[in-house]
Symmetry: none
DNA sequence: GAACTATGAATGAATG
DNA sequence: CATTCATTCATAGTTC
């Protein structure tokens, strides 16, 4: 696939001859990645442990480990974290908006802290894991003894992106924004 | 759930056949550039021809020409090349890793050639291009963008040398002979 | 089986 | 150039 398809994605034709045999266990060959429960569990554990944006190395290793449970590619891991993070943030944002509204609405009534409500949906416990027993896979113990499970406990020293709210106010389209930034020096 | 694909899911009206030259100005009201298929095709052709990091002039010209197909700004071209290059690299990195991994994994099972594996990981026709594809001979079978490409290509060649043969896309073309034919127009 | 949901995949836009 | 964020497209699954 190239950029050529960037408009429509008519690739998998599994429907043509009766797409039998689909399903989780037996992965389809052309479709998109369908993670097994084990894979999801591991990924989720990693995420909950604080890993948000694994480096390429981490992705590699995670992918390799997860391949034990089924077919998987590095990009799947990459996308998984990308999506998971984004959607959590998204959910959070949405919630906070709701809270905000709710808060405002209730403001006439009583005062309650938005934080309370927030905790209901996304209670993110402490992260910063030093070590974590994640891959109980031994039957397939690899040869890379050196860097074992050390990879994921590194580098994501949470700095909790304080970016938070970059909501683009540009509701209405181009009124000729600054244009280029980077291009100006080119 | 969303308004765009109510019922049917064809990507938003990216010009495509209907859009013709008018550009997709009709649809997007937002801030994000939504390239038409023609625009993508041209950009892709340029990329495949070896252009990786267009200069400001090139960006300007490309942008100008592409504006025929729809609304576009220079920065869009700039970003497009940035992203495309980065992702090409990234993809290749991830994919090759996966190939290795898959290969190794399957090695315990059955012996399969790397080519086969490649086909599995990437729906793209197996061709781990190590060398730049300079002459996309078959990229012109599709009439639409190709014709036009030649059209605006002329613009470029008339930089200051009316020769129209020596313009090297330069920059990224390290140790690659002069790209005649296709690129000579640049 | 259409509508809806969850989520994999892609990509435009930035930032460092 | 790499990394990251936001938004959107596409589809496997589920529900009614």
């Amino acid at each position: 696939m190239d950029e050529n398809m960037s408009g429509f994605c008519i690739k998998s034709i599994r429907g043509g001859g009766g797409g039998g045999g689909g399903g989780n266990g037996g992965n389809n060959k052309c479709g998109r990645w369908n993670p097994t429960t084990e894979q999801v569990k591991v990924l989720t554990d990693l995420f909950r442990s604080g890993l948000r944006t694994p480096s390429t190395d981490q992705i590699q290793k995670i992918s390799t480990q997860l391949s034990f449970y089924g077919k998987i590619e590095s990009k799947n891991v990459f996308y998984w974290f990308q999506n998971h993070k984004a959607r959590e943030r998204q959910k959070r944002r949405k919630v906070s908006i709701d809270i905000d509204k709710e808060f405002i609405r209730r403001d006439h009534d009583k005062i309650s802290s938005p934080k309370e409500v927030l905790n209901q949906v996304s209670s993110e416990p402490a992260r910063v894991i030093e070590t974590l027993q994640l891959f109980p896979i031994n039957s397939f113990d690899d040869e890379s003894g050196a860097e074992k499970l050390r990879f994921y406990a590194n580098e994501f020293c949470c700095k909790e992106n304080t970016r938070g709210f970059t909501y683009t106010v540009g509701a209405e389209m181009d009124h000729h924004p600054p244009l280029d930034l980077r291009l100006s020096f080119l």
